[in-house]
Structure formats: structure tokens, C-alpha cells
């Protein structure tokens, strides 16, 4: 690793406090829940980063429904280009999503293609009453008309810059590979 990327890494760690971002998400979701019947709310994390965040929030939110995990590999739009990863974990959604309010959680919102795939998959399981998108970071540069209702923090990255959540223990935001 070069000196430049090391200093950029420092900058990242200084400006983005993971605990704080999670707390921002937690507060916003909690506020959202006040208007809903808690029994009708299902938390669904997108594999893998989104699921790690969902796990943390789920513990604090004390909901009755089980935590859902969504693996969108079968719904990607670039399957014919990149193929199928041999270690796809199955999606696990609670039975009967009809009329539920889904809080869909992901780590980084970028092009919006992952969320597009996730929405398609959710609707193959049922017809939820609503879907709320909550993300840790929104880095902009959308390629599809998708927005998040709940955002830990908006960030802007320079061209070629990446950000990635590593985990599950400890959760850590990094610039390149975990």
C-alpha cells in the first residue's frame, strides 16, 4: 500500500464513524416504526454487508418477525457478463411477506442496480405493503431512479475511489479489499 492511500485511509476513518452511522440509521428506523404496527415490520439485509448491518440494527429494534437475508445473485443484471459465483448463499425471507412493511438494508448505495435486483426478488416472495430503503452510506452516482429513505451519511468519492464494508466482526469501512 502506498503512502497516498494510507493517508486517504486515515481520512476515511476520521470522517466516518461506523457506530455513529449505525446510530443515525437506528434512530431513523425507530422513528419510522412509531407509525407502524411492529408485528408487520420485517427487516431484510442484502447479502453480505447489508445483512451485517441489519443484524446489528435488528438486535436493538426488538421486533417479533425473524431477520431476513436477501442474496440477489440470481437477480443481477450482469449475470451473463460475470457468471454465477459458486458460493451463493440462499436467501432467507420470513414466510408470508404479503402486507408487511419491509425495511430493506444495504451498506453502500451506488448505482442502484443491487436495489433494483433486491426489489424484484422481494416481489417474487410476496406483495409487501411497503418497502423502505435504509443504507449506511449513499455515494450518489445513481444509474437508476432509486433513492434511500434512510441514510447514515451521504459521501462523495473521487473518480476511481472505492469504499467497502468488511466484517462481520468487527465491522470496518475500507477503501479497497477487506
Amino acid at each position: 500500500m502506498t503512502n497516498t492511500t494510507q493517508s486517504e485511509q486515515m481520512e476515511f476513518n476520521n470522517t466516518l464513524n461506523l457506530e455513529q452511522l449505525l446510530d443515525t440509521m437506528y434512530q431513523a428506523i425507530n422513528k419510522k416504526l412509531q407509525n407502524l404496527n411492529k408485528d408487520d415490520v420485517v427487516i431484510v439485509g442484502i447479502h453480505t454487508g447489508g445483512f451485517w448491518i441489519a443484524e446489528k440494527l435488528y438486535k436493538k429494534l426488538a421486533l417479533t418477525s425473524p431477520l431476513g437475508s436477501l442474496n440477489i445473485s440470481f437477480y443481477r443484471d450482469d449475470f451473463t457478463k460475470i457468471g454465477l459465483h459458486p458460493e451463493v448463499k440462499p436467501s432467507q425471507l420470513p414466510a408470508g411477506l404479503d402486507d408487511k412493511h419491509i425495511i430493506l438494508i444495504d451498506d453502500v448505495l451506488f448505482t442502484g442496480r443491487t436495489v433494483r435486483a433486491a426489489l424484484n426478488e422481494i416481489f417474487d416472495y410476496g406483495r409487501p405493503a411497503s418497502v423502505t430503503l435504509a443504507v449506511l452510506l449513499d455515494r450518489g452516482e445513481r444509474e437508476l431512479p432509486i433513492y434511500a429513505d434512510i441514510v447514515g451519511q451521504q459521501i462523495t468519492l473521487k473518480a476511481g475511489q472505492q469504499i467497502k464494508l468488511c466484517g462481520p466482526e468487527p465491522l470496518k469501512l475500507v477503501q479497497n479489499k477487506c
Binding site: Y75, P86, Q92
Partner: protein, 322 residues
């Protein structure tokens, strides 16, 4: 990696699936792992994923099949592919068109995959060598040679019940001579590291020198069943038998049919498998086929997931090298 195995492309990714031979352990593990999430697709309200949307898959069955053809068709449909079932008995091959001419016609219709079953060993290989480079071929059974997706669905079923392959004792019983399923199973089991594969049957139905495949030959079912973890029963393939290989069905059942008394020699948690179609009272007692140790219908269900995995890996060219 330079490979002479036509089943892999230049990057070492799955292109055709013709036989288990030529694959390393990791290739087979990749297929088993890929099948796991497909086994859950039926839980969705819409029992489909859009992975192969817009692909056209052709079922070319030159030999009768219900289970295999149906599960291939279902697997393709659950991947959102379009499926053509060519009825060979009424197709132009019966008007004298050659097999390869027929294939070139299907290529001209821009099909993406051929699923082939043929009574001639090597038919799927021949087709794979002559199709255009964009087309994948999957062998759904060729003569007495190979039936690789059946073997993989059997490995998938075994793994779901038995965790680790290494210490297993697997017994394959019956008409080994005519069984492409047995040959593929033996290759898959030994590749996956099963140390004890036992084949059992009358001398007339065991191929000579089968020991070279790494199996132990038994002619006494009771002896072979001792401490077995997995018992695989095979059907007597009378349609392929030439000459007098068996004295009678009832004598065969007496010696090689699986009864509750004989099954007690295996481990108490042994599973009983059969690729189907089963002949009750010929190779297996009804009470076992329907009993708690039987996983015969699970095999059918798992066949869909395995075929989905193989189809999406060949058409999607999985990015990981094995």
C-alpha cells in the same frame, strides 16, 4: 491452464457437462455448492429466478425418460429459460435426416443449450464436438456410459444427510453392467474422496476389471451391506440385456433385493437411494422404498436444484476457476 477436457473452456470454466471423468474434486464441490441456493427457489411465491431469461434450451431425448426430462425442463423453467422439447420419434431424423444436420438446424434457430439423452454411448460428446462454440451440451444419459447430473444429484443428496464424504461406506447394488448411473456415481464418489465404494451384483452384471475404478466388488449383498452409510439400489435394465444374464426375477430378489432384514446389516442411520424408476419386489421391498430410510423422492427434488446449478454454470460461465 491448458486443458484437453472439452467440458471446460480456456479459462477452466464449465462449458459442457458430459461425464464426471475429467473433473477435479473442486469442480464437483463448486457444482454442489451452487445447487444449495437453488434448492430454496421453490419456497418463493413465484417459483422462478430470472437468471437464464432469454436463453433457449432444447431437450433432445432420443431415449424414453420421464423423470430426467421433466426435471431438466422444470429446472430450465425455474431459471426463466425457454424450453423446446423435440419429439424425436416424430422428428425429421425418422425421415432420414442425420443427427448433425438436425443439430445444425437447431443452431440456426439460435438455441443456447442442448440436453441430450441417447442410447449410444458417447452421443453427447459427439454433439459437443460438432456444435458451434456458443452452445453448451449437457449429457442426460448416453448408453451404458454416463449420466453425470444424476450422479451429482445423488452426491448432493448424500451430502445433505452425511456431511463428510471421506469416511463413508457406499454400496451400489444390482445391474452395474448396464448402468451409466453407477459409472458416474463411482467416478463422483471416488473424486469426492469416498474411501469405500462397494459394488454388488451377480457375476453376469458386474463389468470385468471394474476394480480399476477404485471400487471393491462383492457378490454377496449381506457381506457388502455391513456398516454401510449409503445403499444405492439400481434397476435391472432388461431393455439393454442381451442373452440370459439372470435366472429369474424372483431369484434375483431373493439374492440381491433389498429387504428390511438385510438393511439391518447397514448402519442404523443408513440412507437408501434409487435413481428410479423403481421396480418394487424386484430390487427393493416396498416397505423400504416407502420407509423412513428412503430418500428416493428427495433425490427427485434435488435433481431440479442440481440441474439448475449445472445449467446456470455452463451458460453463465462461473467466474471462479477451479
Amino acid at each position: 491452464m491448458i486443458s484437453n477436457n472439452i467440458q471446460l473452456d480456456e479459462q477452466g470454466r464449465l462449458k459442457h457437462f458430459l461425464s464426471i471423468e475429467g473433473f477435479k474434486r473442486q469442480h464437483l464441490i463448486n457444482i454442489l455448492d451452487a445447487a444449495e441456493p437453488f434448492a430454496n427457489v421453490h419456497e418463493q411465491a413465484v417459483k422462478k429466478v430470472p437468471l437464464l431469461r432469454g436463453k433457449t434450451i432444447v431437450n433432445l431425448f432420443f431415449e424414453a425418460s420421464t423423470r430426467t426430462r421433466t426435471t431438466f425442463e422444470l429446472a430450465a423453467k425455474r431459471l426463466s429459460a425457454d424450453v423446446l422439447n423435440i419429439n424425436i420419434s416424430t422428428s425429421a431424423t425418422s425421415k432420414g435426416e442425420s443427427l448433425l444436420d438436425m443439430l445444425h438446424n437447431l443452431e440456426a434457430m439460435h438455441c443456447d443449450m442442448f440436453i441430450v439423452r441417447h442410447k449410444q454411448s458417447g452421443a453427447a460428446h459427439l454433439i459437443a464436438q460438432h456444435v458451434s462454440p456458443l452452445i453448451s451440451v449437457i449429457n442426460a444419459g448416453d448408453g451404458c456410459h454416463s449420466h453425470p447430473t444424476q450422479a451429482m444429484l445423488d452426491m448432493f443428496t448424500i451430502r445433505r444427510h452425511k456431511k463428510d464424504f471421506a469416511d463413508l461406506k457406499v454400496v451400489i447394488v444390482g445391474d452395474i453392467l448396464h448402468s451409466r448411473v453407477a459409472r458416474s456415481q463411482i467416478h463422483a464418489l471416488t473424486t469426492l474422496g469416498v474411501s469405500a465404494v462397494r459394488v454388488v451384483g451377480p457375476k453376469t452384471l458386474i463389468p470385468t476389471q471394474i476394480e480399476t475404478l477404485g471400487v471393491h466388488v462383492y457378490h454377496d449383498l449381506q457381506a457388502a451391506l455391513i456398516d454401510a452409510d449409503v445403499v444405492i439400489m439400481l434397476r435391472l435394465q432388461k431393455e439393454r440385456m442381451q442373452g440370459a444374464l439372470l435366472p429369474s426375477e424372483s431369484e434375483y430378489y431373493h439374492q440381491y433385493g433389498l429387504t428390511e432384514k438385510k438393511l439391518k446389516l447397514a448402519k442404523p442411520d443408513a440412507i437408501v437411494m434409487h435413481p428410479g424408476p423403481i421396480n418394487r419386489g424386484v430390487e427393493i421391498a416396498s416397505s423400504i422404498a416407502d420407509g423412513p430410510q428412503s430418500v428416493i423422492l428427495e433425490q427427485v427434488t434435488n435433481g431440479i436444484a442440481i440441474r439448475m446449478a449445472v445449467m446456470s454454470q455452463t451458460l453463465g460461465r462461473s467466474g471462479e476457476k477451479a
